[in-house]
């Protein structure tokens, strides 16, 4: 540390300031009265009020998009991890024809630019009568979240020793039972990592949520915030207050599972 001198600390400090400053700015502005916001920038907090937050819940029913986002992101995550884990386990452990082709195909699906599939997906969802429903968002999210989940988990399962399941099977467990009793408990860091990444992705997703919902009762948080903008004015205070609220669950999740995420992402990189 001392031998490398002072400059790494300075670079790190600059990076932290650069990435944290917009958050600080948004947090500060969300507590500043609307009138003051346009008087010129102030970096120090003064004259803090809760009016923007109050307005969100009294005038705009902001709890509806929060509920929608929780349902959509939660179901996507639950479904993704449950199905993705089984799928990844099969790809990691079972021998079957066309396995590498399938893995490549899954990766390719995840590479499609979202904008290119919006129109076909819209037609599809409309004919299934799923526009403006929760499944109408969860299903398209799976197309993007599932490849990520499967790829992360395949890597994770591969580095668990095969002898563990073999021992479980010789001990009398079926393959599925061995998976549930032995592999899943050991894969918790990997599962937590993929769950959080999927949740964050679904929580922040904007394009599909905007395209496949029609009114406020199914809009998610990012869409609702974007639509705050009126014809004559932009309610910056409320937008920023909503942004702070939208950031909260993600931040809490990441903070709570920080260790697990790092463990999950670096698994296999270092032996041990």
């Amino acid at each position: 540390m001392s031998r490398r001198g002072w400059w790494p600390s300075v670079v790190l400090g600059l990076l932290v300031v650069a990435s944290a400053f917009p958050l600080y700015w948004a947090l500060l502005a969300s507590f500043t009265p609307e009138a003051r916001l346009f008087q010129g920038p102030s970096l120090l907090p003064s004259d803090l009020v809760l009016e923007h937050y109050r307005a969100l819940f009294t005038q705009r029913n902001f709890w509806i998009p929060i509920r929608n986002s929780l349902i959509v992101a939660g179901s996507t995550t639950a479904f993704c991890v449950a199905v993705g884990a089984l799928c990844a386990y099969a790809l990691a452990r079972l021998e079957f024809r066309g396995k590498s082709l399938l893995l490549g195909f899954i990766l390719a699906v995840g590479m499609f630019p979202q904008i290119s599939v919006v129109s076909p997906l819209y037609m599809l969802l409309r004919s299934l009568h799923l526009i403006n429903t929760y499944p109408g968002l969860v299903l398209p999210y799976l197309t993007f979240a599932m490849p990520l989940t499967v790829w992360l988990l395949v890597g994770f399962f591969r580095q668990l020793p095969a002898e563990l399941e073999e021992a479980a099977m010789v001990d009398g467990a079926s393959r599925l039972r061995a998976f549930w009793e032995v592999i899943v408990p050991l894969a918790v860091p990997g599962l937590a990592t993929t769950a959080i990444l999927t949740f964050v992705y679904s929580w922040n997703e904007f394009l599909f949520a905007l395209s496949f919902t029609l009114g406020p009762d199914r809009q998610t948080v990012p869409v609702a915030i974007a639509l705050f903008r009126g014809m004559y004015q932009v309610p910056w205070g409320q937008i920023l207050a909503a942004a702070v609220i939208a950031t909260l669950p993600v931040t809490l999740l990441v903070l709570a599972f920080q260790r697990r995420i790092v463990q999950g992402l670096t698994a296999g990189a270092v032996k041990g």
């Binding site: 002898e163 073999e166 021992a167 010789v170 001990d171 032995v182 050991l186």
Partner: protein, 349 residues
């Protein structure tokens, strides 16, 4: 307990590698059978096929009278100890021991009783509440053994269970395994690459090479009457000497032809120059405590063929001297060009 029978068991991997060329092996109830051979000889594949972890490409496997060739491992009623032990890292020792019984739906009283018995027999009682990561290598090994014992299975399978232990612990555990087998009277199939382990543990030993069985026999018979040159060279330590037969033609009775002479280092006697069958030049002398291992060069100089001899420790042998070597004529082995053993009267007419 049950017998195990392999009938023409073949295993061909998708990449074309043949790990087993029609193995025929009968293991009677209660036998301690050791499969031994160099790495890649197919011994582990054979064991994994008996366990059900690999499916044979051809042939049949029977446990007791039941054809289990395509039966999944969980329905075979076997227990296996893996080289890595494969203990479940997230479970305590007690949970590891109980796992197999729990999977088979045993009653809680049965589980408790058997776990208690096994942990007493293997001195695991003080560590029942610990996780595998908190145990030493030897302790993990005993847990792996215990996990197999509590099941009271038809057949025990061991896949190189001692190779992760240090030398001292390995010898101790070896004796423990022999005692365990005597006490349980169980059918055991044990895979190792270590000929010494095979010889000391096996009621019978099956030597394998390149997917073929070379010889199946009790340890002493393997040592005294190896079926071919490979078995002769693999079994016994230090390994048997092989010399071109012409070297001794006229000096010893030979069956004739282009044969190879095999003689174990223990059957070579070092004598004064001229008094033996041949003269040899002493290259290196290794004291081994109870004996000396002497590396000799036949023909009196350092370019001759190498010969290893084991002599009593009190014999004064100096390197770079000339000595005589006398072969024990009753313990000579002859092999033909394919390495097959040639029957030849071992005593002089």
């Amino acid at each position: 307990m049950a017998s195990v029978q392999l009938e023409q068991v073949r295993k061909v991997y998708p990449n074309g590698h043949i790990a087993a060329h029609g193995l025929d092996l009968e293991i009677p109830d209660g036998e301690f059978m050791v499969l031994v051979g160099p790495s890649g000889c197919g011994k582990s594949t054979a064991l994994r096929m008996i366990a059900g972890l690999e499916t044979p490409t051809g042939g049949r496997i029977l446990i007791g009278d039941r054809d289990v060739t395509t039966v999944p491992p969980q329905d075979r009623d076997i227990a296996m100890v893996f080289q890595s032990y494969a203990l479940y890292p997230h479970m305590t020792v007690r949970e590891n021991l109980a796992f197999g019984l729990r999977m088979r739906g045993a009653r809680q009283e049965t589980i408790d009783r058997r776990v208690e018995e096994a942990s007493r027999a293997l001195a695991l009682e003080p560590m029942l509440g610990r996780k595998p990561a908190q145990l030493s290598g030897g302790q993990r090994q005993r847990v792996a053994l215990g996990r197999a014992i509590v099941r009271e299975p038809k057949v025990f399978l061991f896949d190189e269970p001692l190779s992760n232990l240090d030398a001292k612990l390995r010898v101790e555990t070896r004796a423990e395994l022999a005692r365990l087998h005597r006490r349980l009277g169980a059918t055991v199939i044990y895979v190792t690459h270590d000929q010494e382990e095979a010889m000391t543990l096996g009621s019978r030993v099956a030597v394998m090479r390149d997917g073929y069985l070379q010889q199946v026999a009790p340890p002493m018979e393997l040592y005294r009457r190896p079926a071919n040159q490979f078995v002769a060279g693999f079994v016994g330590s230090p390994a048997m000497n092989f010399l071109p037969g012409q070297l001794v033609s006229g000096l010893l009775p030979t069956p004739g032809g282009e044969l190879t002479l095999g003689i174990r280092p223990h059957d070579v006697e070092v004598v004064t120059p001229g008094a033996g069958t041949l003269d040899a030049w002493v290259d290196v002398v290794e004291p081994r405590g109870s004996e000396l291992l002497v590396y000799l060069r036949l023909g009196g100089n350092h370019a001759g063929p190498e010969l290893r001899a084991v002599t009593p420790p009190d014999l004064a042998i100096e390197p770079e001297r000339l000595v005589g070597v006398r072969f024990d004529r009753e313990r000579l082995h002859w092999f033909d060009e394919e390495g097959g053993s040639v029957d030849f009267p071992r005593t002089l007419p």
